[in-house]
Structures are given as C-alpha cells and as structure tokens.
Symmetry: C2
Subunit: 303 residues, 2 copies
C-alpha cells in the first residue's frame, strides 16, 4: 500500500511519520517546508510516545512528481480544499485509490467527492494535541487516536487495512460505524471550544475554570448534541460530561482555530459552524448559541 500525505503540517506530519516509522510506504507532499525537510528529515518529539526521527523520507514539492497512491490522506485545513485539492490530488489517483480526509467538520466529504467523481472518499477524525514548531518539527503533547468513517468507498476492505496500519503504529485506531455520527461527535468539542477560545481570547482550561463559561460550554455542547440528534446522529446527552472531564484533564492546548485566528489565517467556519447550523436547522433544530458563536466568529474573521 502506498500512502500519500497531502499537507505535511502538524496532523499530516504526525500521522505520516507514525505510518512511515512502522514501515509503511509514505509519500509526503510539502510546500514551503520542502527544502528543509528534504535536507533535515521529519521529527516528532512526543511527550507521551517514543520520538520519531525520519532522516530520509519520500518528500515532494509538487504532486505531479509523486507516484499514484492507494490511500491519499488529506491533512490540509478545509479552508484550502476548494482551491488546492483538484490539482494536488488528481495526479495521485489510480482506479483503486481512496481519499481519506483527516479534517474537521460536517459536509466536507460530500464536497470532495463532488470534485473527484468515481473516487471513493472517507473521513477521519484525529483526537490529537500536536503542534508544528518548525519545518518538519512536530511537538506532540497528547493523544493520537484516529477514527475513520466511510463516505462512498465501494470496497471498504481498504479502510480496514488503513485502520490496521494505524493500529500497528501503536495509536488507537477504529473504523466508525457511521461517518455522520463520527463527525458530529468531534463537533461537540470543536464547536464549543474552538469558537469560544477565539471570541474570549483564552484556552479551554480557563473556560472550564470559570463558572459562567463552564456553564456556557455545557449549554453549547448540549445544543450540538440536540443538533446531532436532529440530523440522525445518536449521541447521548452523557457525552457532555465525558467531554468536560476529558478537557479538564488534557494538557493546556490552543485549539487550531485559535492559532489560525491569532495568525490571521482564515478560520474553518464553513465545515465546523456553517454546515452544522444549517443542517440542524434544516432537520428542525436551531442551535441558537452555536449560531451566535458563528456570527461572532464571522465578525472577528474580517481581519
């Protein structure tokens, strides 16, 4: 199996390094970091797992130089999908290729599937705290779980193989029964903490240490669960408490949207906020506070 990593940032670098380190054939596409990574390799310094140093790796600056791959792991921000994916993914496709989106949000698989008719697409959620601290330098703080849910892949044995390959790296890896439920489950955290950390210029830990925003976080999670339920994702109400516990226990971590906002990069509002609000509304449930958060973020995002 040949793997392609489209976008060797924090997520692509972390998961690609895990696969390569376990012996998989991985081809990394890089942009501005290409020259340094080609020279110096890829390094994952981890606070919880063994460090990984890939001194030699298959690094590319242009997709057209890469071989056709069986599994194309898309690790870009969703804000780049529309402009970049057609030219970056097309050269890598053969008749049995699948595209797996390690990205956040709702509705992203449908948009990507529409770009590549006849190509199987799946989605993955990564539960991982990892930063890129320099070109090819990833700092891994915690976790690493990856779950993959099928969107329109015909022969799903390839998804099983990818899950097994990740499992073989030592990371917790699962095949999700239902992609919609997988996506909404991740959104309970992402919708709540990404936006609130941006609007209130803070971290998830500080939000939960304050009584007012602890309550507000609970209420927003509750709304997302009701939105998920309206859209057919059977998330239990008890998830709120699991996520609160998880977030209080996790090492202080700035959500990616906060990093994007602070760096004045576009925020992933379409798939994390706009689609969920619109889809829940169409299904009969209005996520009032989530919509307010979206409107605040849209205002702030006009840098």
């Amino acid at each position: 199996m040949k793997y392609a990593i489209i976008g060797t940032g924090a997520i692509g670098g972390f998961y690609g390094a895990q696969l390569a380190n376990a012996g998989e054939e991985v081809h990394f596409l890089l942009n501005s970091d290409y020259a340094i990574v080609k020279e110096e390799g890829l390094h994952v310094i981890s606070e919880v797992y063994s460090d990984i140093h890939l001194e030699k790796l298959n690094a590319y600056q242009h997709a057209i130089d890469m071989p056709a791959c069986d599994v194309i792991l898309v690790c870009l921000k969703t804000t780049s999908n529309a402009s970049l994916l057609p030219s970056l993914v097309q050269p890598l496709l053969h008749s049995g290729s699948v595209i797996i989106l390690i990205q956040n949000g709702l509705g992203v698989e449908a948009d990507v599937a529409a770009m590549f008719p006849g190509v199987g697409v799946a989605g993955a959620t990564a539960l991982v705290s990892v930063y890129k601290v320099g070109p090819g330098q990833m700092h891994h703080l915690d976790y690493g779980d990856i779950e993959i849910g099928n969107y329109n892949v015909q022969d799903t044995t390839i998804i099983d193989k990818v899950v097994a390959a990740f499992d073989n790296t030592g990371l917790i890896s699962r095949k999700a029964e239902d992609l919609n439920t997988l996506r909404w489950k991740k959104l309970v955290w992402n919708i709540t903490f990404n936006g609130m950390c941006v609007v209130l210029n803070t971290t998830a830990n500080k939000l939960l240490a304050d009584r007012a925003t602890y309550n507000l976080s609970k209420e927003i999670m509750h709304e997302v669960i009701l939105g998920a339920n309206a859209c057919g994702a059977a998330l239990p109400e008890s998830m709120v408490y699991d996520m609160l516990q998880f977030t209080i226990a996790m090492r202080p971590y700035a959500p990616s949207m906060k990093l994007d906002y602070d760096a004045k990069r576009p925020m992933e509002l379409k798939y994390i906020y706009e689609n969920p609000v619109a889809m829940a509304k169409a299904a009969g449930y209005y996520m009032s506070k989530v919509d307010m958060l979206l409107q605040q973020l849209l205002f702030l995002g006009k840098y």
Copy 2:
C-alpha cells in the same frame, strides 16, 4: 424645588447642568473631581445644543454637607448602589423627598426602595451620548431625551414637576406610563450593544456594518422583546427596526459598558443582564443568546 445630583459624572453633570442652567436649584455631589469643579465650574460642550458653562455651582464633597432635597437624582453606576447609596442619600431625605434613578437596567428601583423604606422611588432612562472628558468637563455628542417612570411614589405630582423642569430645559422629557415597559425598552438597546461591543471589542456602528453581527444584533433584540413581552412589557416587534435605524444614524459612540471594561471597572451586569435573564426565565421565556452574552461578559469581567 431642590434637586440633588448624586454622582456628577457624564450623566449627572449633563442633566444637572441643564436644570441649573434653566434656573433650578441644583446641589451637586462630587467625589474626586470636587476641588477642580468647585474652582473651575461645570462645562457641557455640546455638538447639538448650546454649550453650558456653570461658573458657580452648589458643589459638595460630602452628602452630610448638603441640604435636604425634594428630588434626589441618582446618577451613579448601578455597581455602586449597594455600597454607596445608603450613606449618600440618607442625609438628603425629608418627608416628601423622592429618589429618581437615572440608571440602566431592571430591578434597580426595587433594590433602592428596600434601602429607604417609606421613601418614594422612580426610575428614569436617559437617551443621551455624553462623555466626561475631564473633571467637570462633559462632551455632549447627541440626544438628551429623558423619560421617568414611577415605582412607588405616592404623590406623583412631583414626578410631573420634574418632567416639566426637564422639558423647560429644552430636552425632550416624558413621564412613562409604565416603568417596567420603560426599563425593557431601553434594555433592547443596552443588552444588545453594550455586551456585543465588549465581547467583540468594537462599536455599535461596526457591528451593524457587518452582515453577520447585523443579523445577530437583530436576533438579540428580538429575544429581548420576547423577554419583555413575557414580563408584561408590550414592546412591539417593529422596535427592532426603529432601533437599528437609530443606531446606524447615531454618531459613533462607545457604550458605557465598553468604557467600563476598557478601564477595568466593574460592568453593570446585574441589572442589565442578570436580572432581565432571570426575570424573563421566571416568566417562561429563556433569552438564550442574551444569557450567552452574559456568560461571556462574566468571564471577561474577571480582569
């Protein structure tokens, strides 16, 4: 009629100067500005009305030095009521005194009436854009309307006299039929724009120039109107459009809560947010977005 101004800041200085300039007997209580105002007088520079220069005025540093007054205009921030009003107002009372609170928010008259059993209390809303730019120096940008609603004054002819006195200054002045409705009407603006300007670090004009926050502002106003309706204040839905027009037309103005926040002073959350949310909820309507704004403000207010 003897008037006392408790708190000669932007509001107290502006309305007190109008009354004194029109020939009323006004006694001004000051704190840190006392020495300069005693020496240099009180000045209102107005962009829309004639300027007022009170070279000599009845200025006091201590309430116990003031004469008993018929009308005590409380112009402090509500955040000081509990700690300051007992000692500042008690010395001014005679058997026919009334206390008029030119303050913002819901439930403030009940709390003040409880401090002074047997004393008549009324509430007033000031629609005015005025800043204190220095001790005794007020910069008046726009408007000046004042409406007074009775809370528990027995002989309401004194309220009519105060309305007439303000009317005589040239300001638009009215007696409100219902204090509850008057308070909620002002809250439609205050709840929406005070909090949003703090959370998003902006001005009302900019909020309305952005499509997302224009819509959010409308939705919050709509919630407040439904909250008002639940609490027996018959505000019409059409108010939203009147207020939007008014706000777009007004000169750029930082709401007082934004000034308080920027100066790290306490924000008037209890009467502008906490009481309205709680009272509407008790009456059967949950103002979801207003509550979210409150929770964001509570978080931010822990400087």
